[in-house]
Amino acid sequence: MADDGPREKRVFWDPWSSEEVTKNELRKRLTDRFTKENIQLKEEIQRLEAELQEATRNSQIKEDIPETKVKFTSLENPETDSQFLNISCSFQVSSPIFYELQKGQALITFEREEVAQNIIRMGKHHIQIEDVDVEIVAKPVPLNSGVRFQVNEEVSKVKINVSEIPNALPEDQMRDKLELSFSKSRNGGGEVLCVQYHRPSRSAVVTFMEAGGSHPWRQLRKTLPFNLADKILKKKDYPLYINENCYNVIVSPYTETHLKHFQVFSGISERTVLLTGMEDLQMMDEEILQDLVNIHFQREKNGGGEVEVVKCSLDQPCIAYFEE
């Protein structure tokens, strides 16, 4: 190591304490200062992070899933017991990303991103429309953010949920009564494999031996007046006989729902450009205007290129969907 000898005797000015100090002393003071400040910064960052976390906790997303018709596609072999004992339903949900096109606005999609970016960079464009010079402004399209996720729902073919069980008997006895009641085919039941009874919550899960082919829920429902088509699965009553009394317990399907690949994303438009400035052209035919805009922006001398699609909105706003 080089001997720092003469250097060490040199004196430095510490602006914070307005003193003359040696290099080593200055270095030590700076190190201490930075270390202390960094600790404080870290603490404040942690506080803010916790605050933000609290603030965004439990924001809820509620989605109504659009009704979709299904059709038989193929017959496969179940690979696991779980596949055979559950009806599984899986699907992907995503928020539509769209732009609300206002009157006097248009969207134009170019084949090439560079062309779109160039048009935006140029900003103002002048188009001759019916001998009138119209100034059109090109901007990027502001798009919303959305969520996307995958849902997997498993409805058991052999288990059902039972609730509102009266506390009329001690745990063991009630479990037996439940098993007996659900074994009665006259009520739509069948051979029971086991009963998991949780007295404090007045609920139980009844597992049947492999059902013949239809869901035990269906069997149970057969004996009850019920309109099958298009009704939200209502919890139905089931008679539970204890000694001389009949109680009504509620039965419902045993289901498990899982969420996967949850993601928030924002849409960004690279090839589609927003054109504004056509508010005064409301009397024009939309199609004719679209053609004129298309032709103008196809021309390289206007800064354009190959155009994929043009949509103008003159007298009515409309929603324009953006896809991948």
């Binding site: 038989f72 969207l107 969520v147 849902v151 928030v264 924002s266 438009s269």
Partner: protein, 286 residues
């Protein structure tokens, strides 16, 4: 530069980074006060999208889009699934709970039932910024790695303390080329978000990737409805007297007879006794 100078430099760099992060958070807090509750307070991965001409009149906000619907319905041995061309035929067939199928001198008794499939109608998801997970994004286009390879490389890099990471507990490739990494310690996730940018080796090259907070979702409630499949009918409790192909033929002939209420059969699949089947249903386009 001597060791002490290097240490001082490092402290200065750290402070610059910390101040930047602090500013970011202060900005987010300001923005949070202004934005409506259903929007996200930090920047999220951007997905490039394009307008292709698909529009809708009016100002009604569109509902969410559903895709890749797949329903799997187990079929026990000794059952069959008959799909008719005309749903009215299925309705007619279902009017009789029991069908008697003639074969030579004897009769087969089978049960016939409507098919109902569970479908989710409403879903409620609660979201929260995850304390243990981060979102890794900014992957270059045309990256030639399989899902498994990519996840492995990310776990290797971010699993190392010397890279600023820590032990990885979970990893998931999201639908839009972003990856979620979950760590055993929440301090790791926080630190990685503070740093924000990392150069990660993915194969022969290294790429700058972005690490940001991950908004995770949890299902609060899912309502389901059982909906009938109008064209299909379940045939159950088929006695074990015939071989597969023969049984198939006999059933098809029976269910095509108008005299038995039948009609044009689009498909008929049999699950022989002793076997198990899984009937797969997907969304129709029309």
């Amino acid at each position: 530069m001597s060791v002490n100078d290097a240490a001082l430099c490092a402290l200065q760099e750290e402070q610059t980074r910390l101040r930047r992060r602090l500013q970011e958070l202060q900005q987010q807090r300001r923005e949070l006060r202004d934005i409506p509750p259903d929007q996200v307070p930090f920047s999220v991965p951007a997905v490039p999208l394009v307008f292709r001409g698909h529009t809708q009149q009016g100002k009604e906000v569109p509902t969410c889009l559903l895709s890749k619907l797949r329903i799997c319905y187990p079929l026990p041995g000794g059952s069959a699934l008959v799909t008719f061309d005309d749903p009215k035929v299925a309705e007619r067939v279902l009017q009789q709970k029991e069908h008697k199928i003639d074969i030579d001198e004897c009769r087969l008794r089978v049960q016939v039932e409507a098919l109902e499939l569970p479908m989710v109608t409403t879903i409620q998801v609660s979201t929260q910024i995850s304390r243990w997970s981060v979102l890794v994004s900014g992957f270059p286009a045309g990256l030639r790695l399989s899902e498994e390879e990519l996840l492995d490389k990310l776990e290797i890099f971010f699993g190392k303390i010397r890279n600023g990471g820590g032990e990885v507990e979970t990893r998931e490739l999201l639908l839009q080329g972003a990856v979620v990494l979950g760590f055993t310690k929440d301090t790791v996730a926080q630190h990685l978000c503070q740093v924000g940018q990392f150069t990660v080796p993915l194969g022969r090259q290294s790429f700058p990737l972005r690490v940001s907070p991950y908004l995770s979702g949890e299902i609060q409630k899912a309502e389901i409805m059982f909906r009938p499949v109008p064209q299909s009918v379940l045939v159950l409790n088929i006695p074990d007297v015939l071989d597969g192909p023969e049984l198939q033929d006999i059933l098809e002939i029976h269910f095509q007879k108008p005299s038995r209420g039948g009609g044009e059969v689009e498909s008929l699949r049999v699950v022989p006794p002793g076997q198990r089947g899984l009937a797969v249903f997907t969304a129709t386009s029309g």
